[in-house]
Amino acid sequence: MIDDIRRIAADASDRIAAAATLDELGGLDRELLGKTSELSGFKRRMGELDHEGKREVGSALNAAQESLRFAVASRRDQLAAVARREQAEAERLDLTEVRAGRDAGHLHLVTQAIEELEDVFVGLGFTVAEGPEVEDDWHNFTALNFGQYHPARDMQDTFFVGLGGPREVVMRTHTSPVQIRVMESQKPPIYSVMPGRVYRNEATDATHLAVFHQLECLVVDRGITFGHLAGTIDMFTKAYFGPGWTSRLRPSYFPFTEPSAEFDLQRPDGSWLELGGCGMVHPNVLANCGIDPEEFSGFAFGFGLDRLAATKHGVTDLRELASTDVRFLEQF
């Protein structure tokens, strides 16, 4: 009987090993190890045996069944691995053929410059203020100490807007009217920067735009000096451009600041970049905004952004900045 068991088991083991598919293996599992299998038949016939015989046959039967179960499991693993491999082959992908249907999008390079500059100034302790692009004469000129026939008005070619009286409403020629709006609505201390779009009625070419962007910085507090103006410009210069950069101030003229200056930046290679204008807020401007110029003093500086942004990317024609061609926009 034991020999029969061993012969059957050996035969079964061969058949399991030869099973070609998981289905076939399942059939063999039922046939060879199920309740109706030949080996199970031995279990029923064990009653005929004595104690010793039962023990020996039972032991052989268990061993045979155990080894067959193991064989089925191993064969199943083998066949499953083969099947997975076939499946995997069938669904092979070449990842080098993949292209994203879209990209991460594009922030306009002027917007990038505005955000970078805002971040630098926020880091230096400033808030960001904004105002309208269409302004009245008061905010764009008069409150800024431009007399009605002041020659300085000629320095700024103005787009006049067909609202109100003649020359009463303008496209703002600078971001300085936002200074007025801030000072009219807020008591010192004021530490603000004002980025924005500005308009000049002058013919455009590769280096001049009629519509462009400025950022200006306003500080009004007790004890603010020209030294603070120079120090703040220098700190901003190093924070935005890099530690190797320095700044200098040269006398100039703006109706709304006095003393006034131009400020130039010196690159690490020694060359100069003329950036913008600055000065101590004119006492008349403070007074126009209801701030006592004897108690408070302040400074302001401002500069154009577009050339900075363009230069950073080697854009030589500023007119490109208004381009809506995706070949331009998608580069940044």
Binding site: R102, A104, G105, L107, H108, T111, E115, V122, L124, G125, T127, V128, P132, E133, V134, G147, Y149, H150, P151, A152, M155, F159, F160, V161, G162, L163, G164, P166, V169, P189, Y191, R197, N201, V211, D221, G223, I224, T225, F226, G227, H228, A230, G231, T232, D234, R248, L249, P251, S252, Y253, P259, A261, M280, S297, L321, A322, T324, D325, V326, E330
Partner: protein, 803 residues
């Protein structure tokens, strides 16, 4: 303003190097825009005479020129120019000369013929821009002499300076010299020409002045008269008479050279003297041909409206009552005060007697007239900054001195000096503490005085402060702050130490600014590109975009195509799509955040200016734009964002609508109107979203409170309803979401139109997930909720559950 080093040095008591002067100009607020070293590069250039012209045997474009250097020898030069003739005097760069461009002239062969130097054009010598041919010299020049000698060119430096409106003094050589002398520490030599005429008896003398007429007798028994009627426009009027001018006199070469270098054309001896005095002294002046001035009288009065005058440039000018005129004894206009003379009394080749005007006109009056007439002159540029009323005498003497030297004129000893209203300029109290508090310096009162004195600001100590008299040549300065600037300028900005801001403060972006940045990042994240088209539109562009055609207009646009303020971002972005489309760039996705300008609200002057965000998706249909809106609304956590179908301007009639927050319309969404796309030659569908971003910043938000998640399994039910087309899918979804507290989420997963669904209705299928926080829902509970939800939707929306 341009200035020559030699001219400047006439008013300095020591030689100052060009480098030091240029640095001083930069530090004084009159920065050097351009520097030209004159007479440099002329070393080695000689006058030669052409003695022979022969064709080059081997070249068509070169000829052989034989020249004589004054030694009678013929020297052969190869030359590519053909504009000279035998006998002409021309410049030769001799062997060994280094040209201004750095090229060294050597003996060399050109196509087999020797060339012993180079013949030069004016441009090659840096003399002017003429490069048409070889520079033909005056026949009076002598062959063999250095060109610099022949042309009378001394080495000099020409600076072109930027002069700001607050520096009237910098519009003259004298004023620049005074400022530079103070900065570099040399002495200023004030001009002191011999006094040519007596002071006369001033009329209306005093701060306010009464004006009026005054006359002076002439040596021949005649008289001349000045009548200042417009005392508010003319603060001082000095007149002199010069007689016996030689009409054939010409101004000397040195004067012509200086005028030319400073940008003025030599015209005649008298005109050149007039300009020379203006440039040097900063005092515009006007010589009239006395024979043509009726009654030998000059009268200053306001124009009457509509009055006309032909000015020197032969243009007929028409005036208003705001224009100041100079008239003659017949009250006929002979010039626009301070701007330009009239043609009638112009100096001519027959002029022998001159009536000379020097005056101080009100800067505002001149500026106003000059702007209104669109007429700028060297004179008006000076008057409108404010000339020096005290300098008239010296300038008149200088004029008389030069006229005597050059034209042999004699000056009548009497002059007329009439005064109107001159600005009242009391001394200004300048507080030492204030100066230091504004500049951040630690200057002593004495030092402040020392800085001011050399530029004519006389500082009288008062305790630790000063009373400062502002010089008459600084019309711009009137208050303490103006003096503070002068102190800073002459102390030197670079000598003011940098200081750090120490006030404790926190920098931050406002909530709206942070939201704007979030929206930018979101739109980039959708793979879209930001565009910043101009906010100006062409007339008709709003209409072409299907919008209300009225926009606010610019009064003075650069070009008509950019003359209307946009009322929406739509026209600019449609045009952007069209431009890309025309370049075969299809399917572009762009966005913009920018201002739009709506008509002013009632009683407001300024436009209703708003910040919009817009997204344009070429090649996409309306749902793509709706999705962007939903993502945007979700990003901003807007409360109750929705879409409402509507036929709106600019949008596709059946594929557009409003976007709303809490029921309020805040923008538009859908597809661009096919008619608009047709007009723009766009053949793709274009999805579009434009929202009033400013309104979103403070629109209601949905709750940010945490919604507890159940640990028990959820139950999902699908409900498909037949819903009339008139009912918004969003409304049905909201009804389900709010229909029972056990509803966790509702998702529209299928829309179907067609049989068996009735016409005018569609099937909307929703997946509803139910769950409770404290238990697993029983089948009975789920069924109960389902029944309730179905009943609610059916009763609320006239819908019916599909079987």
């Amino acid at each position: 303003m341009k200035v020559l080093s030699t001219w400047l040095h006439e008013f300095l008591d020591a030689e100052v190097s060009p480098e030091v002067i240029a640095d001083a100009f930069d530090d004084l607020g009159t920065p050097v825009e351009e520097e030209v070293r004159l007479g440099e590069g002329l070393a080695g250039i000689e006058v030669v005479r052409v003695v022979g012209l022969r064709p080059h045997p081997n070249a068509d474009k070169i000829q052989l020129v034989d020249v004589d250097r004054g030694d009678g020898e013929a020297l052969q030069i190869c030359c590519g120019a053909f504009n000279m003739a035998v006998g002409d005097h021309i410049p030769l760069a001799t062997l060994g000369t280094v040209m201004p461009g750095g090229m060294k002239i050597e003996r060399r062969k050109l196509r087999g013929e020797w060339s012993n130097g180079m013949l030069c054009s004016a441009r090659e010598l840096g003399l002017n821009e003429d490069h048409e041919g070889i520079f033909i010299l005056e026949p009076t020049t002598v062959p063999g002499t250095p060109l610099a000698d022949a042309l009378g060119i001394d080495p000099d430096v020409l600076w072109e300076l930027e002069v700001n409106p607050n520096r009237p003094d910098a519009m003259s050589v004298v004023g620049l010299a005074r400022d530079v002398a103070a900065k570099v520490g040399v002495g200023f030599v004030a001009p002191a020409p011999p006094v040519a005429a007596g002071p006369g008896e001033p009329v209306g003398w005093g701060a306010t002045g009464s004006g009026g007429a005054a006359g002076a007798a002439l040596s021949d028994g005649g008289a001349f008269t000045v009548d200042v009627a417009a005392t508010d426009g003319c603060g001082r009027f000095v007149a002199r008479v010069l007689r016996g001018l030689d009409p054939t006199a010409t101004s000397p070469a040195w004067m012509q050279h200086r005028l030319t270098e400073l940008g003025m054309r030599p015209i005649s001896a008298l005109v050149d003297i007039s300009n020379y005095v203006m440039l040097e002294q900063g005092t515009p002046n006007h010589p009239y041909d006395m024979a043509k001035v009726a009654g030998s009288t000059l009268r200053v009065r306001w124009a009457s409206a509509g009055e006309q005058l032909v000015t020197l440039d032969d243009v007929t000018r028409t005036f208003t009552a705001d224009d100041l005129l100079i008239c003659d004894g017949d009250d006929r206009a002979v010039g626009i005060a301070g701007i330009m003379g009239g043609a009638a009394c112009e100096i001519g080749p027959e002029t022998t007697d001159v009536l000379l005007e020097l005056a101080w006109f009100d800067p505002t009056a001149i500026s106003r007239s000059s702007r209104r007439l669109g007429l700028r002159s060297e004179a008006s540029a000076r008057f409108e900054k404010g000339c020096d009323p005290a300098a008239l005498d010296v300038a008149a003497d200088r004029f008389c001195q030069l006229a005597a030297e050059i034209c042999g004129a004699t000056t009548e000893p009497a002059q007329v000096d009439v005064r109107g209203a001159l600005p009242d300029r009391p001394p200004v109290r300048v507080r030492t503490a204030r100066v230091n508090a504004l500049l951040g310096t630690d200057l002593s009162a004495a030092r402040i005085g020392e800085l001011l004195e050399p530029i004519g600001f006389r500082a009288e100590p008062v305790g630790d402060d000063h009373d400062v008299s502002i010089p008459t040549w600084r019309f711009d300065s009137a208050t303490e702050i103006d003096v503070v600037e002068e102190v800073g300028r002459h102390h030197g900005y670079r000598n003011i130490a940098n200081r750090e801001l120490t006030e404790p403060r926190t920098g931050h972006l406002t909530d709206a600014q942070q939201q704007r940045r979030g929206v930018r990042r979101l739109l980039c994240g959708l793979g879209l590109a930001e565009a910043l088209p101009l906010p100006f539109l062409a007339p008709g562009q709003l209409a072409d975009a299907g919008l209300d055609p009225t926009g606010i207009e610019l009064v003075n646009p650069l070009v008509a195509e950019e003359s209307v303020l946009r009322t929406a971002l739509l026209p600019g972005l449609v045009a952007a799509v069209a431009r890309n489309h025309a370049r075969r760039q299809l399917g572009v996705g762009l966005w913009e955040i920018g201002h739009v300008f709506l008509p002013p609200p009632p009683d407001q002057l300024l436009p209703d200016e708003r910040e919009h965000v817009a997204v344009v998706l070429a090649g996409r249909e309306a749902p793509a734009a709706v999705e962007v809106w939903q993502i945007l609304a979700d990003h901003l956590r807007l409360a109750d964002p929705a879409v409402r179908n509507a036929d709106l301007p600019g949008l596709h009639p059946t594929r557009g609508g409003q976007v709303t927050v809490a029921g309020e319309a805040v923008g538009i969404v859908g597809e661009i109107d096919p008619a608009v796309l047709d007009r723009h030659d766009v053949a793709e569908r274009v999805a579009y979203l434009e929202v009033d971003l400013g309104r979103l910043y403070d629109a209601p938000r949905r709750s940010q409170a945490y919604r507890q998640i159940s640990r028990f399994p959820a139950s999902d039910i699908d409900l498909a309803f037949e819903v009339p087309d008139a009912v918004s899918a969003i409304a049905v979804e909201r009804t389900l979401a709010g229909g029972d507290e056990l509803v966790w989420s509702v998702r529209l997963f299928d829309v179907y139109r067609g049989p068996p669904v009735a016409d005018g209705s569609r099937s909307l299928a929703f997946a509803v997930r139910l769950q409770a926080l404290d238990r697993t829902l029983t089948d009975a509970e789920v069924a109960e909720v389902r029944t309730r939800l179905v009943a609610l939707v059916e009763s609320t929306h006239g819908a019916s559950l599909r079987g």
